[in-house]
Amino acid sequence: MSILARIKSFLGMEAKPDKDASKEEVEKVAEEKAKPRIGYIHLSGCTGDGMSLTENYDILAPLLTDMIDIVYGQTLVDLWEMPEMDIALVEGSCCLQDEHSLHELKEVREKAGLVVAFGSCAATGCFTRYSRGGQQAQPNHESFVPIADLVKVDLAIPGCPPSPEIIAKTVVAAINGDMDYLAPMMDLAGYTEACGCDLQTKVVNQALCIGCGTCAMACQTRALSMTNGRPELNENRCIKCGICYTQCPRSWWPADRIKQDLGL
């Protein structure tokens, strides 16, 4: 429990019900509750999302050893057969011309309770949206789509890569069954056609932009700047990760969670 408390306090996620329960009760529950089995599936991604997970330096060891079991993952676990999983983190988009990828994605959907589009390639296609084939040694490997185009996705964690913090927060929320925290990520599972131009069409065109600069701050490729208080997109730099619109305070607004996090 002390480790759980440490992780929660690191993440600013003090769970209120725990305070009322006696220490023994909590420990008993912690012992009885099976650790969630987490798998990491690597499609057409760069491993950057997996790397970002490991950048939770302070809490990584207790997170991996005491809170979850990583049961599958080509860069992490020496296992060829995909096992049953509670949560599958799927990195990368899926190549429609690669039968193995298609098969693997379908298998994940069958074997995992929660399928998570882990990182922008899986969530929105990100810069594999620019793939168009014609390269050795598979010139016909042309079409890459976000995984929600092919299977039902439960949660999306966009980001190129997603921050270490959001990965840890998501895993901890999933362990605790904190569906309120995960709700926006469930909604984001439907946000697959992302682009920096969303700021123009979904925010500025809709009379919602307030010129705060959060989008330009969040952009991971510096494709956005602010001109006369409005986002200006350099389309040549945009990788369609969807982070700008996702972080915009005028796209969705988690007021209750923010007040809880701030103690207000």
Partner: protein
């Protein structure tokens, strides 16, 4: 709850004569940032600094009291301060960052902290957010238009602008001009019309002019972090305070203005929803307190 959650509200001002001279009101933002820098509670602050263009602020990372003071005073147009936060952490290497924010900017920052999707190792670096009351903001060209056309004064000659007592005040070296606030309507930024936050409800400490006499500010101490630093600054004699009960016009006016802003915005939100336009807030019928910022 129309003024948000807070631990304490007081009338306050900076005791520093230089800050008093330069500040818009009580010099709370300048005073607290200078104090926090001196005490190494922050290693820099993102502020709305001057640019090459008169009255057009540019976000800057201030790392000394001089730089903080160079940004003192209200500019009634956009300064996308949130944009600069990542630069402050990545390029300036700051670990404990202060930032001044108007309500919408505080929303961008707080959302990023609760859901840091693409912003690695940034959320926990915001050590002090000082919020400013905000009724609305103006595009730069709006500001230039009503100052040069309606008040008939050269933009470059303006030394201070202020909104208060129903008027937009323009001060030059030798005269004080006013425009009735009514005449500035229609020039506001459109995005402000659905804003449900007047007194920067999500800041650590928020401050503004309404409620207190000239030269003083109304200050809400909201979070634990805000309380710690504000108390220290008062104990150090950097900030002096008075009870809100002892000043005029007091909290009543603030409550009225906050209610007016929220009621007006809620109406726009409901209208937008009826038209099927997107808006990130709940409609008045969908929540317990129609004026809550959700």
């Amino acid at each position: 709850m129309v003024l948000g959650t807070y631990k304490e509200v007081v009338a306050a001002r900076s005791t520093d004569k230089q800050i008093q001279k330069l500040a818009q009101d009580g010099g709370i933002v300048s005073g607290l940032f200078c104090y926090a820098l001196d005490e190494k509670l922050i290693d820099g602050a993102v502020v709305a600094g001057p640019s090459d263009v008169m009255w057009k602020p540019e976000p800057m990372v201030a790392m000394s009291s001089d730089e903080i003071l160079a940004a003192a005073g209200t500019k009634y147009t956009f300064s996308p301060n949130v944009w600069m936060l990542k630069k402050a952490v990545r390029q300036y290497g700051l670990e404990k960052l202060g930032t001044v924010a108007i309500p919408c900017q505080s929303m961008g920052i707080r959302k990023m902290q609760s859901y840091p999707f693409g912003v690695r190792h940034l959320a926990d670096k915001i050590a002090l957010m000082l919020g400013i009351f905000c009724m609305e903001n103006f595009p730069y060209e709006s500001l230039r238009t009503f100052i040069s056309e309606k008040a008939g004064v050269d933009f470059d000659l303006v030394e201070k602008m202020d909104i208060g007592k129903g008027k937009f005040w323009i001060q030059t070296a030798d005269q004080m001009l006013t425009i009735p606030l009514k005449e500035t309507h229609g020039y506001e930024q459109n995005g402000c019309k659905v804003c449900l936050d007047y007194v920067c409800e999500l800041a650590d400490v928020s401050t503004g002019s309404v409620g207190t006499p000239d030269g003083w500010s109304t200050v809400f101490v909201r979070t634990d972090a805000g309380e710690t630093i504000f108390k220290q600054a008062v104990e150090a004699g950097v900030i002096e305070t008075k009870s809100m009960d002892d000043v005029k016009p007091g909290l009543g006016l603030l409550e009225k203005l906050a209610t007016d802003k929220k009621t007006k915005a809620m109406k726009v939100i409901d209208e937008r929803k009826a038209m099927g336009l997107p808006v990130p807030y709940k409609g008045s019928g969908e929540k317990e307190d129609p004026l809550a910022n959700v």
